[in-house]
Amino acid sequence: MSFLTISHLKKSFGATTVVHDFNLNIEKGEFISFLGPSGCGKTTVLRMVAGFETPTSGVISIGGKNVVNLKPNQRNIGMVFQAYALFPNMTVAQNVAFGLKVAKKPQAEIDATVHEMLSLIKLDHLAARYPYQLSGGQQQRVALARALATKPQVLLLDEPLSALDAKIRVSLREEIRAIQRKLGITTIFVTHDQEEALSISDRIVVMYEGNAEQVGAPFEIYNQPSSRFVASFVGTLNTLDAVVRDAASGIITVDGKDIAIDRTRLNGHKTGDKISLAVRPEAVSLGEATDKRETTLDGKINSVHFLGSVIRIRASLGENTVSFDTFNNPSAPPPAPGENVKVSLAAKDLLVLGH
């Protein structure tokens, strides 16, 4: 049995349902990310787990115990907020000690835990500072230490990196993941940043309009998206219009060129059906077919963006347009806009999109 189970969770605000029949099983020590655009319901699900919102229906159980009717202060859940939410009237050490004092722990234990937590986030030298004397990154690390000090069953992170600048975000997310691994704490991380989710999660729940569109490991989510939404939201994606020429043998036509794909991937489409294909930029390259990329299409360069080590090219293939990157080669200048080129790809990298 999973450590944290969410079954048939539903949440409505008046006539508007923001979470529809949400189900998820999380193992102990797992790091799960809720990924989706604004308004997809990811924060609402997190707030229901924390106890700040009451589900309209459904069950949330932690360690086999249904917690839906427990108040937030009875759930033993640690939470880190986007806005840090450090108590302005308390020092760093007092903030970290707050939960332990509320739990009426002995002073010696409180002092030891505060020291341990501040060492964990490498801020023990700032114990006497007030929150306004810290940078955003430092404040969020203190918020993390404060949430972990009470040894919660589950750690909830509500877009904790959104208010930080790019460099700090990367270092802090790695720090969060390292601490989570060290403590083995079950964690739910809410983000709208796909790179964040892909880089630190054991599994990702991609959410859209109150539903879990797909649940899977980052590799699976990126490479085998189950829906058009997941494919377009996670990573950059080229979509191509195609027609099924012969469903029985898996032949499809893209801009006049026949391509053979595994017919089982046609998802029941029949001969003559119009379908949408998706292909990642890294599965497309400039030049004639190779062993790895056996299909060649004729294209025309629309635009070329030189980004240093990488050159981003946009080319039209008749009706369709694809974007792809190529590495900078000092001895071979990039093609010019308007130039006719060959674009190659592998049929196995083409995804037939569902709804």
């Binding site: 937030p72 202060n73 759930r75 907020f81 939410a85 108590f87």
Partner: protein, 263 residues
């Protein structure tokens, strides 16, 4: 442009004359008790009057009680409305404005009718009961000022997130109120408290009609029977009010400089 500035200066000069001349006149008159020379005789007479000490002490005690009732009533209410019932804020603002439009004399007659010795709750039947009634009356009079000060203070912090952060750490509502909310709106509460203090010290209608020995009725009594002492008392009353206003400025500036440091 230049004409506009002249009018601005004229308006300012008129305002200063309108407010300052009567005060200077009162101050000057209060110093003329001794014939032919300026002296503080009127002040000594007032300050050595046992009734002054008695009424002033009574009003200070009542002001402190009023401030405590105001804080206990207003801080949790304003906090709860901001946190859980934001749509009720206009209703609460309207209610807290009522003391400004309903004259104190109407309120006190209502109290006397409701809490007289023949009623279910005969508060006016004893001195302590009447003191309690007066304290609640003062709380009502100070409500517009106390509520606005506290509400503005609450608006300057993210009470929702702070509350949720404390709840996730296991804190109860009482702990959150005492350890998180109150310390973070202390400056606003102090502003409200000083305003309440100034109002209670000078209040006449309620104290006189409930027959309590407060400073306001003493001020009136002296004014009706003496010449120089009422002027001295008026100056003392103004000084107390101004000290309160000055303290509000001090705590507000302290808060602003703290906020600037935070940025």
């Amino acid at each position: 442009m230049k004409t506009n500035r002249i009018w601005s200066w004229l308006a300012l000069a008129f305002g200063i004359i309108y407010f300052v001349v009567p005060l200077l006149g009162t101050l000057e008159f209060s110093l003329r008790m001794r014939r032919g020379a300026y002296s503080l005789d009127a002040y000594w007479v007032i300050l050595s009057d046992p009734r002054f000490q008695q009424t002033f002490t009574y009003s200070i005690v009542m002001a402190i009680v009023t401030i405590i009732i105001g804080i206990v009533l207003v801080v949790p209410t304003a906090y709860w409305v901001r946190l859980r019932l934001p749509s009720w804020r206009p209703v609460l603002e309207f209610i807290t404005l009522l003391p400004l439009v309903i004259p104190a004399i109407v309120v006190v007659f209502g109290y006397i009718r409701l809490y007289n010795t023949a009623s279910i709750l005969p508060l006016t039947g004893s001195a302590m009961g009447t003191n309690i009634l007066l304290a609640f009356g003062y709380t009502m009079l100070a409500l517009p000022y106390m509520y606005r000060a506290v509400d503005t203070g609450l608006g300057s912090i993210d009470i929702r997130t702070l509350t949720e952060a404390a709840e996730s750490l296991g804190a109860s509502r009482v702990t959150i109120m005492a350890k998180i909310i109150l310390p973070n709106v202390l400056v606003a509460v102090l502003s409200g408290a000083f305003l309440t203090f100034a109002i209670v010290i000078g209040e006449f209608t309620m104290a006189a009609l409930l027959n309590r020995p407060a400073f306001g009725p003493f001020l009136q009594l002296i004014g009706a029977n003496r010449a120089y002492e009422p002027a001295a008392l008026a100056v003392i009353a103004f000084a107390i009010t101004w000290i309160c206003m000055g303290l509000i400025q001090v705590v507000t500036r302290f808060n602003k400089s703290l906020a600037a440091t935070k940025r």
